[in-house]
């Protein structure tokens, strides 16, 4: 839907060629979504079939096809901005299932939470690194996109913090309760996310 409506929005400012539309789409989304030129032409063909755009008679000296938006297409583009995005039914989420299943598995759920939290924070650090040197005024589209991904990841960490607080509050998983349970070792955890503190610090120091 985003490609279809995106092309319509760009044609609203004047007639354009397929390749022009591809370049403008990528530029306006800070090259985060690369568009396949084949997909552009397929979408243009569908838009034309639905009466939302029409092609202009091509210049004999120029084989490129120029497209322009119709009144119906203009209406459709306005409607897109006026309608909220429907995210559909929430998908089954492996992380939620994993955390819930860890509660009665003999594992320490706080460890499961910390492994995921460390991975999410590392991702946050990487997104933030991408944002560090950006001029937020001149590269607004890129910053907006990074902010969206940052906040989505931040929400995951906040949820993990909340789950941990609930687990602790429940009193079911105190250190004593877990002393004899067959939980995985710190080495297992390191394989998936974090590494041994002093070693990493030494490497950073080098």
């Amino acid at each position: 839907m985003v490609v279809r409506n995106g092309l319509l929005v760009m044609l609203d400012s004047g007639p354009k060629y397929g390749y022009q539309l591809k370049m403008e789409f990528e530029h306006r989304t800070s090259n985060v979504w690369a568009l396949n030129i084949g997909q552009v032409y397929t979408t243009l063909a569908r838009l034309e079939r639905d009466g939302l755009i029409e092609h202009l008679d091509s210049d004999a000296a120029d084989s490129h096809q120029l497209y322009r938006i119709t009144d119906l297409g203009r209406q459709e583009a306005r409607m897109w901005f006026a309608t909220p995005v429907d995210h559909g039914t929430p998908r089954r989420n492996e992380l939620i299932m994993k955390v819930i299943l860890s509660l009665d598995s003999g594992q320490d759920p706080r460890q499961v939470i910390q492994i995921q939290r460390a991975a999410a924070v590392k991702r946050l650090q990487e997104y933030t690194l991408l944002k560090t040197d950006v001029d937020t005024d001149s590269d607004l589209a890129w910053v907006i996109m990074l902010d969206s991904m940052l906040i989505e990841t931040e929400a995951e960490v906040r949820w993990l913090d909340l789950v941990e607080a609930r687990v602790v509050q429940s009193g079911r998983f105190s250190a004593e309760n877990l002393a004899d349970s067959p939980h995985f070792t710190a080495a297992d955890a390191r394989r998936t996310s974090a590494s041994e503190p002093s070693k990493e610090l030494k490497e950073a120091k080098r």
Partner: protein, 241 residues
């Protein structure tokens, strides 16, 4: 590279009557100069205590705190005061501004105590207030400021002068998202210049500005994540749609 801050086997307990409350247990960290470090963890996990020990505001029950190669346990009161005045900039959670001094006077105070002339201290203070977006309020008094403005004043006071280790307890707690981000950018620039910043935060988005994130739970250091490059992430983001 030299270490800006080391903790070796540091533990700390608070005693309340006959009750002993362990605040930190067996902390080992070694932070190189120029690094930006965030400490995260639930309330009561030991974040503030760790910062207080690092700044010499409290002495650990056990272990050694070493700032720029010098164990601060060996410092007498004069040396400790000098360390806090010259080396360490501290942002307190409650700001600790002096109500009878203006914003500019609060910020220039550490320099004046260190022997700088009033005029030169004020010049440095104004430059720092400009960096935190507070220059227009330089002659106001703390009571006339919002929480966020007081917090930015406290940050300017910690950054003024050439103090090489900045310790900050929740430095962005009262700030909106964009102001908080601008403070993080300021702290990163400080680290690029070779200074070291260690801050405690509940704001995970701000923690992500750090090179190193330390996780405290029940007074113990349980994990850490390092900021590496973002090349693979960038490639994934820009893959063909």
């Amino acid at each position: 590279m030299t270490s800006a801050l080391e903790m070796r086997g540091v533990s700390h307990e608070y005693v309340s009557g006959s009750v002993v409350i362990p605040a930190l247990t067996d902390i080992d960290i070694d932070i190189p100069a120029g690094m930006m470090v965030a400490i995260i963890g639930a309330s009561g996990s030991g974040k503030s205590t760790l910062l207080k020990l690092a700044g010499g505001l409290e002495a650990p029950t056990a272990g050694e705190v070493v700032v720029e190669g010098r164990a601060i346990r060996s410092f007498d009161d004069t040396k400790l005061a000098e360390l806090r005045r010259r080396k360490v900039g501290y942002v307190f959670q409650a700001y600790n501004l002096i109500p009878s001094l203006t914003v500019a006077e609060n910020v220039s105070l550490p320099l004046e105590l260190d022997g700088f002339s009033g005029a030169s201290a004020r010049t440095s203070a104004l430059a720092q207030l400009d960096a935190v977006g507070m220059i227009a309020l330089a002659d106001r008094f703390p009571d006339d400021l919002s929480g966020g403005e007081q917090q930015r004043t406290a940050i300017a006071r910690a950054l003024v002068g050439e103090r090489t280790l900045v310790l900050a307890d929740e430095p962005t707690g009262a700030l909106d998202s964009l102001t908080g981000e601008s403070i993080m950018r300021l702290l990163r620039r400080r680290c690029r210049a070779g200074h070291t910043v260690v801050f405690a935060t509940h704001n995970i988005a701000h923690a992500a500005w750090a090179d190193l994130v330390l996780y405290l739970r029940d007074g113990r250091l349980i994990d850490q994540t390092h900021r590496t490059d973002a090349d693979s992430l960038l490639a994934g983001l820009r893959a063909d749609a």
